[in-house]
Symmetry: C2
């Protein structure tokens, strides 16, 4: 009887490796009031749905998706698919390892 | 004989007050590899001429002026006119007061 190997299905949502996260890209990406607000909403470490984040900021879905995509592509957030829903979390440990102190600066400043 | 008052000539080069420096604007502005490099060149606290900075980065004057203007307008650098020459310095104390730790993050990270 042939052995059936269960293939590990690669995530369809690409994220940069921690070592590939670029400072200039992160700064440029969080250097937008709305995206900075998204980072702050995620700062407590709780994973939140795309829908919840959009509703917290009063954004249309298309606008929210756009900003969340930029944050993910820059390496600032992680997006996890669960069915049709997407769940977002801050890559706080990865950012801290790569750029010590940066997240604190983003959260501290008025 | 009329008294001639020597008017204090206001600087023609506008700079935002420290309290008006916005985090998102600073992040967006330094979130460009070339402007980040300019910040690092100025990190030793030495004032440098526009010409020197442009030559250090191998930039045409127009490109250099553009990036230095963005840094000044964001509140990251101070530009002082001396004759036809312009001298640039990092507003390190102002940035530190407003966003503690930010400059260190910019200088530390690879």
């Amino acid at each position: 009887m042939p052995t059936v190997t269960t293939a590990v299905r690669p995530s369809k949502i690409p994220h940069p490796d921690t070592d590939a996260i670029e400072l200039a890209t992160v700064l440029r990406t969080v250097g937008d009031p709305l995206r900075l607000e998204l980072v702050r909403l995620l700062a407590d470490g709780v994973e939140r749905s795309c829908t919840e984040l959009q509703s917290r900021l009063g954004l249309p879905a298309s606008t929210g998706s756009y900003h969340l995509r930029l944050l993910r592509e820059a390496g600032v957030t992680r997006t996890r698919a669960a069915g049709t829903q997407r769940h977002i979390s801050l890559r706080r440990d990865d950012l801290e390892r790569r750029f010590p102190g940066l997240v604190d600066v983003l959260l501290r400043a008025g």
